[in-house]
Amino acid sequence: MRELTLNTDTITAVDAEHSVTAPPETSSRRMTLNMGPQHPSTHGVLRVVLELDGETIVMAVPDIGFLHTGIEKECEVKTWQQAVTLTDRVDYLSNLSNNLVYALAVEKLIGDIEIPPRAQWTRVMMAELQRLNSHLVWLGTHALDIGAMTVFFYCFREREDILRIFEMFSGQRMMTSYIRIGGLALEPPRGWQQVVGKFINAFPGKVDEYEELLDNNPIWKRRTQGVGFASLEDLLDLGVTGPMIRAAGMKWDIRKSEPYSSYEQFDFDIASRTENDVYARYRVRLEEMRQSARIIKQALEGMPEGAWQANAPKIVLPEREKMKTQMEALIYHFKIVTEGFRVPAGEAYQAVESPRGEIGYYVVSDGTSKPYRVFMRTPSFGNLQALPALLEGRLLADSIASLGSMDFVLGDVDR
């Protein structure tokens, strides 16, 4: 074993070699700054190479891929139903939206499968709870980045309630895999109405609380208003979706424009602003929380009775009792578990409005029991492409506010 000795001579030598020498007179004032990959404000492993001219960002080059786990490749070796669990892991804050869009895309391919209203409404309710969860985490951490610490604790308090509801429904707090092809994973638990009702009645007041905490804070306003502007044309051209595009004056929400899973039966408004800055994005997300609360309330009050899974014995696992007593159910169970069900050859694209924007799954089947290709058009990937447009030409100090206002999840970017 080598002994560690402290040799002051060497240290001095090494030190001298690496010491920063004063730039010669002729060199430019530009400096390259590495932000990340382990930067607390990038919420994941994102590296942005910034070229600075004094305090101004001249060039910003995002470097992604640190969290690439090959989920799309992995989907190709799982059966159709198994791949649901992988869609959870794309984005830890909108796992139910990912479950939902995958299930909808595959159900579109299957064709003759009808999802009962109760399952559709539960899907909507869970997706909206998920939106609250995501926006709460965003608001808390975004405020924390800018320096308002208290909001973080309030937001995470409410988020905890939502995670408890998820646990009650699916047995899992984060990786719920609750929405499956053909319906839901489990029947909604007894007494969920009380739990969700208690939460959702108190929630709008909580949103007012956050609003009061931040809107009466002059520092918050001065750090967000007029910061992170990019024109609507630029944002559209760069593929930005979701709250960011709505904060730029575009009233476009997939829940309204291409309703799925019975969203057309719910009454809600599209939140939008025109200022197109960090503050506007905050206002849009705050308003979306209120609208989501409205949707959840409607789902709670008007939840249809009936089946929570489609009547498709070749796709949906039979009830435990039936499997033990009926020959046919046992055969279906065996076939689904061992081989998986087959999906007719073809392709389908399904888009839903996730908390971050358009999630689109392009699913290709070759007629076997495994997906041939699952392409995930994730909102964070599309949105992050606009990062240079938001940063370049602006002050370095504003970069954190701009970055946070995009609300990306790096797992969602790298997949």
Partner: protein, 169 residues
Amino acid sequence: MLPEQLKNHPAAVALDASLPEAITGGHAEHGEPTLFISPASIVDVCRYLKDQQKFVRLSAVTAVDWHPADPRFEVVYLLHSLEDNSRLRLKCWVSESESEIDSVTGVWRAANWYEREIFDLFGIRFRNHPDLRRILMPTDWVGHPLRKDYPVHGYKYSYQHDMDPTCES
């Protein structure tokens, strides 16, 4: 040649009238209009659809590997028109020997990262792309993971000894 199912699709009909050579087929399965475009005219088609047919958004670009068929790759463009609230899918077939297609970054800047992703994971090169580098995999990675002949767990069982020359990997 415009497919039968898309005879009533306004954008497809207009495209067929203005660039008759470009469309080689298509279908509308599951109510999703899909046009097969000859790779040589993809940029013209995209520019026409964006400027004349209001497909302001490029939702995504992706690819499918149909190994060992020839042509092997299918490059898929997912277009979206906000004004008409309609989606259109374009497809180009690219053979393995060529593995090259024109980039549409000049039409939508959004194509930039999606094309880099396809280059990274499928190995299809995009002509006139401003910055064609790997995006998700490390820069020194060998191979293109989403190809069908690429094993799911890579070519090596373990990567942990990569830095140690005394270990066989």
